[in-house]
Symmetry: C2
Subunit: 139 residues, 2 copies
């Protein structure tokens, strides 16, 4: 049973609002996995494109901590665009979904919480390989 | 053996530099613990103060993902100020250290990676309790 882009959604992140600033918390009641790795993109020139890969087993939770950007997700059949611009919402990307990031605003910060440590074997970096992989998994 | 503010230091975060933007990665080769919780402060009015507590067992890794702020750390004997303004460096705060955050720049984002899930019993929220706690632990 592979992921469909139609199952993906923006999840609310619990937030403690305070006049001294807001605090948002991600633990495993927000993301359905143990957090193994945290990374972030910064100093992204506006208009850059990133991503262009899928994962076989890793899940990711993506948050626009500052500024905004778009995440285009593809499952080999359909595609969908999520515009992220809110630090209290995150997009959970399940395995078997191709993702591309684009349309970064100036000064944006993209936070990614991942379910696994880095493993090059978990990446599918070629879109044709990806559609073949998903076709086999679906059949 | 309790923490001293003189043992605290800014740690470099591995960074992949790229013309499309920089990517920094925190996993357990950077922080000396399993990541249990990720939280961040945002929409902090410039000049706000946050923090004002210590932890008995939790360790934290603090990064200025955007903008800048200062972290004042106290061990009951001495204090030290760290000015954070670089997404590729983070301050590791070990247990038994009082911390206050202040001098936030407009639009700053403070990322915190923690070694434990939330547990109110792990907090020391009164500075006198803290100095007493550390005195007992030192003796």
């Amino acid at each position: 049973m592979k992921s469909s882009v139609h199952d993906l959604k923006n999840l609310a992140i619990p937030k403690i609002e305070d006049p001294r600033g807001n605090l948002a918390v991600i633990e495993n009641n927000v993301v359905p996995f143990e957090i193994k790795r945290v990374y972030y993109l910064f100093d992204v020139p506006s208009g850059s494109t990133r991503g262009g890969h899928a994962h076989k087993t890793l899940s990711q939770f993506i948050v626009a901590l500052s500024g905004s950007f778009d995440v285009i997700v593809k499952d080999g059949l359909d595609q969908k665009r999520f515009s992220l611009n809110n630090p209290s919402k995150g997009l959970l990307i399940t395995p078997g979904i191709w993702r591309e990031l684009e349309n970064f605003s100036s000064g944006s910060v993209c936070l990614v919480i991942a379910s696994e440590v880095y493993d090059e074997d978990d990446y599918i970096r070629d879109f044709e390989d990806f559609t073949n992989y998903n076709r086999v998994e679906r059949s």
